[in-house]
Subunit: 355 residues, 2 copies
């Protein structure tokens, strides 16, 4: 994919929601904003990591907050551009490229909005290869890229720049500001050179999103198996097919936290429990953990293959739960320290998906 | 007073604690920091509002947080200068003067530290004529001066710049950041021109602090009545003399909140209750409110005349409780809306002290 046009946005949004592993925010709002921005400013040029000038000035942008809130409190049109502009003014540098902090949901589309509005190319990559709930949980952290200076903007016109001693402090201060701002805000952080981007980002994320979205769309059109197409493209595994029988969800400390219980269908007497913090963290089948962070656990509509985000889980949905391998760097000791099960309070080794 | 030398600091600290109306932070830490800064960098030149060039670039600085925490978590030496420097870098202007946001306790001394370290003169004035607990509660708010851009720095090296739609939003975001930073931080806010300072600040505050401190010191030396000397200088009124018999104090939402009960001495069967949020807000004698914000309610040691701050109130202390009139602008409708009893949740008209 060389550029993102209005026609690409449906596939992109559909695929992004899958990589969002239940989080990353519902892509619907992002899809609307991106549509409006691309119609107004024209297609967004995509640049691969290989093409990126090592001296490029790359500004990643994202939406931060609880997905449960993002679907109700709408951002304003220029909010993400204001965050990027505040950061570039603070840094005193002209950005040459926009990038994605995370793959998934709204956060694959918000950078399209910023790139269109600021007239900048977008890097076909992201900082995780999936979505994770906290600021410091990006591969650039493993490469010593600082999350701050970081800008946060709300839809009312409030803005902050944070400059912290480490990326965990960036998460802490940004989370409180986001909560004050009403549990969702736009951020620009991890400003980096092209060299740092080439080293630390996951390549090809936006192309992969668009490809996944197209696979689901064509499988549906051809009446074949969209879930199977996704599993096969991601080298993943179908964990469970079942009906949602219970969802516990609460918006606390700025996150959508909770768990969902699924009962097997078609004579399967088993049960699957999903535990999430914005994103799915753990899948337990009949009490045994069958998949965990850092690998991807995605909930798809069993029929259509569309991703179902954690904030829209509800009783009676028929879901296919799949697992897919994360970028291998997440399985390094430093990667697991940042986003493995123990970080999230589960005392277990990661349960991975063989590639 | 034309300059502040090391020899002036004891009187300044003693008087500042009185105007702090129970809050503004214990001046002990501020006294130590100011002593070190003035010894290292030399005396700080004081400039009156009358002398201030209308085009001057004035940066007020302060410590923000719960006084209960400030006495335990020590600031680092250059913390306040870092806040001022971050703000001036963000604004892209070279400050010509430092000023005080509030009179009282640590916040009359922290600006001395910043002025000495940055080699700038200090304006003999402040934004309140007393201490108040929240950021927006300064007279400059009444004159349309914006609290933001505002910088916050902690002792660990974390810093933020806030840029908000109004001064209440500055309070909200800064309070959360301060809580994250451990309930105390250094701030620089309300950057203003000399013209705005002359219009909106309370003149002569630092001189008044030094004068009050000297009055108490000499009354003590002469074995006369230090409390009476303070009451007379402030055109105030002695409300009560009594012994502290109960203190309820809790650190919540980043403030030291609570109330204290005093029993009359020398045959007085009465009782006085003080309600505070960092600063004393209300004094009730035998159930009737006898003084309230915006006027000053100060607790002094009945013997020595030294101010007793809300975080150091304890059983058995013998206190003189005095009231003194606030700057008359606080009694305007806009002033009362900002810091009158109703703002703090007390459904009553202000009970003032006749001048």
């Amino acid at each position: 994919m060389r550029e993102i046009t209005v026609d690409d946005l449906d596939d992109l949004a559909r695929g992004a929601a899958i990589l969002g592993t239940g989080g990353g925010g519902d892509p619907y709002i992002g899809r609307l904003l991106a549509g409006a921005a691309v119609r107004e400013h024209g297609p967004v040029r995509l640049v691969t990591l290989d093409e990126l000038d090592p001296e490029a000035a790359v500004l990643p942008v994202a939406m931060m907050g609880a997905p449960t809130v993002m679907v109700e409190k709408l951002p304003c049109a220029d909010q993400v551009a204001r965050a990027a502009e505040m950061l570039s003014a603070y840094l005193g540098l002209e950005p040459t490229h926009i990038a994605c902090d995370e793959a998934g949901g709204v956060n694959s589309l918000i950078p399209v909005v910023a790139a269109a509005q600021l007239g900048l190319p977008l890097v076909d990559a992201d900082g995780m290869g999936r979505a994770f709930p906290e600021i410091q949980m990006v591969l650039p952290t493993l490469y010593g890229v600082r999350a701050t200076p970081m800008a946060i903007a709300d839809e009312k016109g409030n803005r902050c720049v944070l400059d912290t001693v480490d990326n965990r402090w960036a998460e802490r201060l940004a989370r409180s500001a986001t909560i004050d701002m009403g549990c969702s805000a736009m951020i620009s952080s991890y400003a980096m050179t092209g060299r740092q981007a080439r080293e630390s980002l996951v390549p090809g994320t936006l192309s992969l999103c668009a490809e996944l979205g197209a696979l689901v769309r064509s499988a549906r059109a051809a009446n074949t198996d969209p879930v199977g197409a996704v599993v096969s493209r991601l080298d993943g595994r179908l964990l469970f097919t079942g009906k949602v029988v219970d969802v516990q969800r609460r918006t606390v400390t700025g996150f959508a936290r909770g768990d969902a219980r699924l009962s097997g269908m078609d004579g399967d007497p088993g049960e699957l429990v999903l535990r999430f913090q914005n994103e799915h963290l753990i899948a337990e089948r009949d009490g045994a953990v069958v998949a965990s962070v850092p690998d991807l656990i995605c909930t798809l509509d069993a029929e259509t293959g569309d991703a179902v985000t954690t904030e829209s889980l509800r009783f009676g949905q028929r879901l296919a739960v799949i697992a897919a391998p994360a970028d291998p760097r997440w399985h390094s000791p430093a990667g697991l320290e940042l986003a493995g099960p123990r970080y999230f309070g589960y005392d277990l080794d990661p349960v991975g998906v063989a590639r």
